[in-house]
Each structure stands twice: as C-alpha cells, then as structure tokens.
C-alpha cells in the first residue's frame, strides 16, 4: 500500500466547505437544457399536415380543428392534439415536423387528478411552458424527409434554341422514385389543385414503382394528365408541405413520369370505357380544347353520345395552337386525345359553329350544348400603328399549322405574361434557324419581379437570347410606308391609379425606340362570340363581358353550358375542372329528362 492510498481518504475532507452538489429543492428541479418535456407548437407556423401524427409510433396524436385556425391554401386548419397517456417523449414528431413549429419544453413535472387534462393541443391550450426556450429542438443537421429535389436533365440554352424539340427530359423512372420518396402524403396540395387530383396517392404509386396504377388514378380526375404533366401551372406546388424547409415536391414532373413510363398502347387497356348502358341522349360541344374534351370524356363515359365541333384543323385548342411544341410536343397531345376518342367521343374538325353549322341547329338536334370556345382573339394596344402589329396567338397558331410566317431579324414583343414568352421564344427559334442569331426584344409595363409570366419562362427566354425591357409602355408602332420599323416606348412611372384602376403613367422624357421589323402584341385574349348571333347574345345574361354561369357552369339558358377560358380560365387544369363540373350538371339534366320520359 502506498502512502497516497493511505492519505487519499483524508483529502476528501477539503470539499467540506464546498457548496453541496445535491439539489436543495428536489420538488422544483428543472429538467436538463435539452430535456424532452411537454410539447410546444407555434400555431401560426404549423400547417396541420399531420406528419407528426403519422410518424408517432404510439398513436399519441390526433389532428383536430382548433378555434382561430382555418383551412386555406397550404394549411388544413387542423392542429395536433397529444395524448400524454401514450406519449413516450421520443420526439420523432419534433424531428419530422415539416415546418419546425413543433418543439419540446424541458418541463416534465405536472400532477393532476383528471387524466383528460393530459390530452391537449400544444400551443392552442395555453400552458405555463409555452414560452420556455429550454427543451428539445430538432438539430438542424439531418432531416427525416429529403430536402432537395431529385435531379432531372434538360437541354442547355445553346442546344435548344435552334429547334422546337422538347426542352425538359422528364424524370427517369429511377429519379421519379427517389423524388416520390420525399413526399409525406399530407394531401394539403389536393385542395389547391383546381381538379383536386389525388396527388399523394399517385405519388405513392410512383414510389412503389406502380406506374400503371398511377396512370389509372390520374385519369380518374384528369384526362389531360400527359399535357398537365408537362405544362401545368402547378399551383399545387405552392402549398406543398415540403416547401417550408426545402424544395417542394416536383408534383408536375412526377405526373409526367407516370404518363411517360406507361407504354402508349397500354393506355387503351388501362383506361376503359365503363360498362354502362347507352342513354341515347346527345350532346354537342363547341370547341375541342381541354374544357370541351374533358366534358366530352365524362359524358361519353356516362353512356351519352357526344359530338365535338372544332373550328380548326386539329383538336387540342390552345394546348396545340398556343403552347409551343418545345413545351408540349404534338405527338403527346395526339395520343392524349386518342384516349378520349376511344371513349366514343366524335370530334369533327374544320367545323366552325356560326359558319359551317349554326348554334340554333345544334340546339335543335342535341339535348344539350356546351360552349368551350376559349379566347382566340388577341387584344390590341390600340397605339398608333397597332393595326400593323401581329397578335401573338395568331402567330403561334400559324407556326403550329406549319404556315409560313414572316421572320424579320429583329422582333419586338409587347407583354410580360406567358404568352409573350411563348411567342418571343418561338420567334427566337425561327430567327436562329434562318439567321443563326436571335434578335427579340420583350417590353412590358411591369417591373421584372411583377411580370405575370412564370419565373422559369422569363429565365429561359433570357438564356435563349431574348432581351427584356421591363417597365416600358408602348406609345407607337413606327412605320415607314407599309413596313414596320420599330416600337416606341416610354418609361412606366405607375400602372394603376389611387383607386387601383388601370391607368398607366409615363415618364415622357425617358423614350426608347426598339428597332423591329415586326411588333407582336401579347397583352391578352378575348372570345370570338360572333357564333352566338344577335338573339342569343341578347337573351343570355352577362357578367362584365363574360357569359354568366352558375356554380355548375350552366348559362341562363336551360340547354346551354359554358366551360373553360370563355368563362373563367386561366389555364388547362382549370379548364379540366370546369369540364368535370359541367359534365356532372349536364348529366343531371339529362337524367331528369330521361325520368320524365319514362
């Protein structure tokens, strides 16, 4: 035994004067700083996605409506209620929380004789620890759900500008599965989609590699899933729970991945006409755009005879004659429409109602008529020289139809929306093919960050060489003799007056001349309603220049419905949703008629 061993017990005596390390008041002992105690939830941050409920392995969480929280875009209005009789304080719910709203205080002592007191909604049912800063918060090093999008290929600007080939590759099936795996399937996006597609369900099919099952689901809500998988305005992605702490799920591209992964001929096996008796009732649909064709799809599947009258050479409406091929290839659209035709829908092209056949004839020969003629007349700026301007949608239609369009070396486009970007980028391609260079100027009243066009459209246009001049108002289309020489613009000081009415103010000293052999107006479209004729126009009720419809799409005439851009808009998926609504309303009327006859 060493001397040290002998002495060491006595050295402990030096601690006699130290503060004791034991806790003086064991009844009010605070938890450790990162102790996992009762939950806290920031009610304004929480979106009611239910991921916490889903992950809880003790089934301790219920999603419940809460006073003061309402369902709206990206928020279900529900909030998690926790049953502390089941909670094991594992904090998985905090780790998965999509917004970071859910945390844990370090408070863990609480005595109550009422067991139901331990079931409450953290953040809504006030507790003394609600504002405590100590406790468990998720460490921001790793997330249970992936925060970045799976990569997807697309053609770089220099490769795509000399042709009209599709830009975006779309996910490979493998990439799609990886992307689908990030979805927490909360379903908040479903309310935002105008057609309320079963988004989490079809994403789950992708994740499981069941693309055929996915396709069946898509067609339950959207017969234009192939088109929408490419060009949808994808507002659903603006309410995706994943956006709060990472990239939103690429919902649109996942939809496309399903439609691309199923071989075309398989569509006809998977999407079959239901076995229903023929009703013998007939519906005429005017216009073969997405609104008209969705109505036709639903009504044909319900056993009615449907004939679609289309003014142009081919069906598809603005999806064919507006949206350029590099965003939506024609063969995709052709296949999409052939699936609709397989339901027994008859499409008669080159039949302009009001010319080849009158709307009165349709009214007499059919049980119901649906007006889905879209917006096919370009609006004009009416500035001096504007009679020499081209209308964007006119040009786009002619490019699609393969007609010769004039392609000057310099083109000026008026407008800052998606149509403006489409025509600018289409003209840029034609210029590149002919001259090897791009000379497109885009001018719009708005500042660049207020442009109506999608961000990616603007960026891609710029990448392709289009030059954008924001906040410039057109004053004159300059002409020399019969030829256009350019566009004169003033700087915009304000677009709206104090009352919010459209009344642009300009700085006249800031003038620019944009040299151009062609000026294109892309400032909006309107319907050509001449087909209605004077009497019907008079009879119908109107609402600020548009035909008035009820919530089901019926006009003030009992035999006439309207759907799509002609009444509402603004995009394909709204047209599809309108189509479903109108089909149901027409179906109800037809059923009532059948019943009367029996």
């Amino acid at each position: 035994m060493s001397l040290r061993d002998v002495l060491s017990p006595f050295t402990a005596w030096k601690h006699v004067i130290d503060d004791p390390v034991t806790i003086k008041d064991p009844f009010n002992r605070p938890g450790a700083d990162r102790y996992r105690g009762f939950h806290q939830n920031d009610m304004d941050k929480c979106i009611g996605c239910g991921s916490c409920e889903e992950i809880c392995q003790n089934a301790a969480i219920d999603m419940v409506p809460v006073e003061g929280q309402h369902a709206g875009p990206g928020d279900s209005g529900l909030r998690p209620m926790i049953d502390y009789g089941r909670c094991c304080w594992c904090a998985l719910c905090v780790d998965v929380c999509m917004t970071g709203s859910l945390t844990m205080s370090n408070e863990y002592t609480w005595v109550d004789s009422d067991p139901d007191a331990f079931r409450f909604v953290p953040g809504a049912d006030g507790k003394s620890w609600d504002l405590d800063v100590k406790g468990y918060q998720r460490e921001d090093v790793r997330r249970l759900t992936g925060t970045t999008r799976a990569p997807m290929g697309e053609m770089p600007a220099e490769e795509r500008i000399g042709n009209f080939c599709e830009i975006v590759d779309g996910f490979t099936p493998e990439q799609a599965v990886i992307e689908a795996d990030r979805c927490v399937e909360c379903g908040l996006c479903v309310a935002t989609c105008p057609a309320h597609m079963d988004i989490p369900d079809y994403i789950a099919k992708v994740r499981d590699g069941d693309f055929e099952g996915g396709l069946r689901l898509l067609y339950e809500t959207n017969p234009f899933s192939q088109a929408c998988g490419r060009i949808c305005t994808h507002k659903c992605e603006t309410t995706c729970a994943a956006m709060h702490e990472g990239d939103t799920i690429a919902i649109r591209w996942l939809k496309r991945a399903i439609t691309d992964s199923v071989p075309r001929e398989r569509y006809f096996d998977l999407i079959r006409k239901p076995d229903v008796p023929e009703t013998g009732q007939k519906i005429a649909i005017i216009g073969a755009g997405p609104a008209g064709l969705t109505t036709a799809y639903d009504l044909a599947r319900a056993g009615h005879k449907v004939v679609v009258f289309e003014a142009l050479d081919k069906p598809g409406g603005m999806m064919r004659y507006g949206i350029p091929e590099y965003r939506l290839p024609y063969d995709v659209l052709d296949h999409e429409i052939s699936v609709i035709e397989a339901m027994g829908v008859e499409i008669r092209c080159n039949m302009r109602v009001g010319k080849e056949i009158s709307i009165d004839q349709l009214k007499t020969a059919y049980d119901a008529v649906v007006l889905s003629i879209g917006l096919h007349q370009g609006r004009s700026t009416r500035v001096p020289g504007s009679e020499k301007a081209e209308a964007a949608i006119d040009l786009l239609r002619r490019i699609t139809a393969g007609e010769e369009v004039p392609v000057p070396e310099q083109v000026a486009v008026i407008g800052g929306g998606n149509v403006a970007m489409d025509i600018a980028r289409s003209m840029a391609r034609l210029q590149k093919i002919i001259y090897g260079t791009v000379g497109v100027t885009v001018t719009a009243l708005e500042e660049l960050d207020r442009f109506l066009a999608d961000r990616e459209e603007i960026e891609e246009a710029q990448e392709e060489g289009c030059v954008i001049y924001p906040a410039r108002g057109p004053q004159e289309i300059t002409v020399a003799g019969d030829t256009v020489t350019g566009l004169r613009t003033w700087k915009v000081k304000a677009i709206f007056d104090e009352e919010g009415r459209f009344a642009p103010k300009y700085d006249e000293t800031d003038e620019m001349i944009h040299p151009a052999g062609m000026v294109v107006e892309a400032i909006g479209q309107m319907s050509d309603i001449s087909l209605l004729g004077a009497d019907l126009t008079e009879q119908l009720e109107w609402n600020r220049g548009r035909i008035m419809i009820d919530s089901e799409g019926q006009t003030s005439e009992p035999w006439l419905w309207a759907a799509g851009d002609v009444t509402s808009g603004p995009d394909v998926i709204h047209a599809v949703a309108d189509g479903h609504r109108v089909a149901r309303s027409v179906g109800k009327m037809l059923a009532a008629k059948r019943e009367k006859l029996q």
């Binding site: 392995q57 003790n58 479903v190 609504r581």
Partner: protein
C-alpha cells in the same frame, strides 16, 4: 491505420475499408475470422478497448450486421469490424473471454434482435424488457405502432381528422370528385 489493415490483409479476408475519418475506419470481415482478428488487434495492435458491439437489421438482404468497434487509445484510432449473419436463426460467436463487457452487449442483442451468442454468461436472462413475449423489438419486422395499440389504452373520446378530407369538406364540398 492503413498499415494495420495491410498487416491483417495478408492473413484474413477483409472487405474494402471505408474511411469515415483518418482515425475512424470500417471494414467487413468473415464471421469465422472475427475472433482471431479481434484477438490480434487487442494483443498486437494496441486496440485494448471495446467501445461497443451493436447490430443493424438489413431485412431486405435477410442479414444482421454486427459492428464491433474497437479503439486504440494510445494512437487514438477507432476501427469498426462488421460481420454479417444470416438473419434466419442468427448466431454470433461470443467474445466475452476477450472483453468481459461484451457479455452485456451480447445479452442486449439477444433481447433486442434475437441474435444468439452461445456460451456468453447470463445471455438468455431478461435485460431491460420484462415479460416480453413479442418479436424482439429492434427487428425491423417488429411493428411498434401495432404493439403500442394492442398494449396501451386510448383515452375515451379520441377522434382524428385526415387533413385532405377535412379540407375537401370545408373548402370544396360540391366539386365532382372522381368524375368517372
């Protein structure tokens, strides 16, 4: 670390080493060589400390992975040795004679994963689960949620709401959903 691996490689079957850091490396070895390698590491290479012994359930591959983490305090090196066991009737070789603490780890693995370690002291006694009759709970085929639902009661009156359905009811009740 690399030199040590080179020395071992001559006589044992080593997989491709993964260097997590310069002082932390993982390598897969054969089950019938693990005891020999551990003994050599302990006695010849200064890895005197068994940091932990743990398991991973690779259910898709029908394998359990044992990870033996050993540490050389002097040189500040950590080496993780992985051994793969058939998941069906999984049995490992006890190393309690090399490190007595291993007996405790092996008892835990027996309870949590159902991996057997014949000859390990008290290995079949309950460790932390008392009266457990279900599947070993760290196995990935153990359904935690179903277990907790069977085992624990709910407070009466609990109701939950699906966010999607709730939004449909409150925001768009009349939309023709599933217009087929």
């Amino acid at each position: 670390m690399r030199e040590i691996l080179y020395r071992l490689k001559d006589r044992y079957h080593l997989g491709t080493p993964t260097f997590q850091r310069t002082d932390l490396c993982f390598v897969t070895v054969r089950r019938d060589e693990i005891r020999a390698i551990l003994t050599e590491l302990r006695d010849m290479e200064g890895f005197t400390h068994l940091t932990f012994l743990t398991a991973v359930d690779w259910i898709e591959e029908q394998l359990f992975q044992l990870t033996y983490m050993v540490n050389n305090r002097e040189a500040n090196l950590s080496l993780g040795l992985r051994v793969l066991l058939d998941r069906e009737d999984a049995t490992g070789d006890t190393i309690h004679d090399l490190w007595p603490t291993a007996a405790t780890y092996q008892r835990e693995l027996r309870e949590m994963f159902g991996i057997k370690f014949p000859g390990s002291p008290r290995v079949d006694e309950e460790f932390i689960l008392e009266g457990w009759t279900d599947l070993p709970p760290y196995r990935r085929d153990f359904d935690t949620l179903a277990y907790s639902q069977q085992t624990y009661n709910d407070r009466p009156g609990r109701v939950t709401h699906d966010p999607k359905t709730h939004m449909q009811k409150t925001l768009y009740p009349s939309y023709p959903k599933g217009a087929k």
